[in-house]
Amino acid sequence: MNKVIIIRWGEIHLKGKNRGIFEKMLENNIKHAIKDFECTFKKISGRYLIKDFEEFYIEDIMNKLSKVSGVHSASVCELVKSDIEHIIEKSIEICKGRSGTFKVDTKRADKSFPILSVEVSKKVGGEILKSNKDLKVDVVSPSFTVNIDIRESGETLIFTDTVKMMGGMPSGASGKGLLMISGGIDSPVAGYMMAKRGMKLEAVHFHSYPYTSEQAKEKVIELTKAVGEYTGGIKLYVVSFTEIQEAIHRCCKEEYMITLMRRFMMKISEKIARNNGLQAIITGESLGQVASQTIESITSSNSVATMPVLRPLIAFDKIDIIQISEKIGTYETSILPYEDCCTVFLPKHPLIKPNLKKVEIEEGNLDVEGLINNALNNVEIIEL
């Protein structure tokens, strides 16, 4: 167990007096992320250190860390006693089998260490060269760097790779929001984007069982769980939308179905958010992507909201959303062929540019409050 992981954070540095609070949040989030692994966690000057773990789990721990917002980068390091023989031996071992160019970069926090940083780099570099004929030194743009960090504790960290992590702000630093999640590609990405900015998330999903399948719901649970990994767990509210859809179908003009559905969803989401102390609604809308995402459609649904509606993907192209979706591991699930929205009631020609006044008149045919209350009385809550 002579491997350790060092964790660096980024933007918190900028946060002045709040820095302490944010650091504590980050620390707790990291601890939560790695809670299933036996290891010790400690803070060293400006960084966190994870040690005493089973090496078999390094990749899993790094994977967990990659989902903690606020973590800027991490490195798996070798931990050796601070004496030059050990440092040389381990550095040679790390470079074994590698080729190309390298340099050695030494930092010496322990000023009692008898050799100057520059001298350590020279000495270690020379020994690496002797042991590996495929390597050359290039101090300007090497293909990799052997970092030697001589700590005050009498131990030295040696590493070559710095893995870029999620970045952003620690989860919880930017309030709490309710993500409207469907089974599609966009909404999990929208959730991820807000999580990255430090927003703690809960999620709401509308399903139309028996018009939609159980698999569709399972798919949403899986997607929500994936988003939850970026926020240290997540609560999902599943709202049955069947009665509302049937009522719209029965009482309103066919082409208003989607427009009215969106307004109901927004109203119900806002109620859930308010009842649970959440401060914003998050949607995966992207301008013009589908009929319900034109500026007129967004105006129609936005007009029933009183809290901020955050749309982190509003100006994203589909292809860019897909790219993030692939990166965060939700794409494969999103494209499973279970429809999350009932196709039984979908209009052939939905309104592309709904007129708000007309929408409100159409909505007047419905017992909006009654339907919303019924829906709110039958919410299933799933902790993920």
Binding site: Y209, P210, Y211, T212, S213, E214, A216, E246, H249, R250, P337, Y338, E339, T343, V344, F345
Partner: protein, 374 residues
């Protein structure tokens, strides 16, 4: 809970499992081992083989496999290296998909048309057979509609056209449900244990002993006379043997009971809402019907709310929304969308079937009202 999706799988016969339990914890040995325990295990398999030969006739022997699909694939890949293969558009995917893939990679595979009940158009099938036909596969009972193909007569007529061809039939939905008496014209016949109360992961390929040219699909330690390598599932095979015997012994009683179930169901179902796809002479164990103009999957979910589990022929999915077989049988989208499959087991209760037909009628009516604003 009322389970009417027995064509998908059946509840495991608990007595058969209890009887075989000693093979998991006491006589758990590898049948290839040369010490006493291994020989005991080998004897369990021998005994099962004897039972299968007794059931199917002395000219047939059983090769144990992992499932019906493996049995089908073993047969198909053994006889499609040369010449042409002939099959039907009514096959289960376990036969259809490998043959379709052989065709797509350049092989000569011919698909015979099917009738509206899912049975094969025999004349069309025969017209596809020529001197170069090496392999013919015709499903015994269609898994979606229950349509029965008279495989003995079809095999005879096929071999009259070309005596050298190998005739295979997938009997997964047939055995234990309809009378199965294989004639000597049948060369290979696939079975699956879990459709008759056995375990998932156990199947058999029944082989006519005169057929010498079968090639193994899985090669290794040479078990099953080299025709199917891999350590035998002794426990599963023993359970398979027990449930097979149970189906034989109770055949007449079960058949009568399930025929009554089918009659009860069909007499109660609202013919103004449903179109029955299965024909009168199909297997009584499977009934295919369509809530025309409605969605089968929605009905399936509605029934689930009432504690009733049935199958569908379509899914609310973007990929392959309709049943391939029923599409080939000539039905339009309105029918295909509304397909429901009810399949019985010998222990299905008459009262449950009556309740199901009532709930189907009610739910279909409600769905129709909701969809069409009636």
């Amino acid at each position: 809970m009322i389970y009417l999706d027995n064509a998908a799988t059946t509840k495991v016969n608990i007595d058969a499992v209890k009887k075989a339990e000693y093979l998991l914890f006491d006589e758990f040995y590898n049948p290839s081992a040369k010490y006493h325990g291994g020989i005991t295990a080998q004897n369990v398999i021998k005994q099962a083989k004897n039972t299968f030969s007794k059931v199917f006739g002395a000219n047939f022997e059983a090769i144990f496999t992992s499932c019906g699909t493996e049995s089908d694939n073993t047969a198909i890949y053994s006889y499609t290296k040369r010449g042409n293969a002939v099959t039907t558009l009514g096959e289960h995917s376990a036969v259809f998909a490998p043959l379709d893939s052989i065709m797509k990679s350049g092989g000569d595979v011919r698909f015979a048309k099917i009738n509206s009940d899912g049975s094969v158009n025999v004349e069309n099938l025969l017209s596809l057979i020529d001197n170069n036909t090496t392999f013919v596969s015709v499903v015994h009972v269609n898994n979606e509609t229950g349509a029965i193909n008279d495989i003995n007569s079809i095999a005879k007529r096929c071999k009259e056209k070309n005596p050298r061809l190998v005739f295979h039939s997938d009997g997964v939905q047939a055995f234990g449900k309809i009378s199965v008496k294989l004639s000597n014209y049948i060369d290979l016949y696939s079975l699956s244990a879990h459709k008759i109360g056995g375990l998932k992961g156990v199947g058999a390929l029944i082989k006519n002993k005169s057929l010498k040219s079968l090639k193994p699909y899985i090669i290794g330690g040479g078990q099953e006379n080299g025709l199917r390598s891999g350590t035998e599932n002794v426990f599963g095979i023993n359970v398979f043997e027990t449930v097979l015997l149970d189906k034989i012994v109770n055949f007449d009683k079960n058949f009568k009971h399930v025929t009554a179930l089918k009659e009860e169901f069909l007499s109660k179902i609202d013919k103004t809402l449903f179109k029955v796809i299965s024909s009168d002479n199909s297997s009584p164990y499977v009934i295919s019907l369509s809530a025309v103009g409605l969605k089968g999957e929605v009905l399936q979910h509605m029934l689930e709310k009432d504690g009733i589990f049935v199958g569908t022929g379509s899914a609310c999915s973007a990929k392959n929304p309709f049943s391939r077989v029923l599409k080939e049988a000539g039905y339009d989208e309105k029918v295909l969308n509304g397909i429901i499959r009810i399949s019985f087991n010998s222990d299905t209760q008459l009262s449950d079937v009556a309740f199901t037909s009532q709930k189907l009628n009610e739910n279909a009516m409600n769905l129709k009202r909701a969809m069409y604003n009636l």
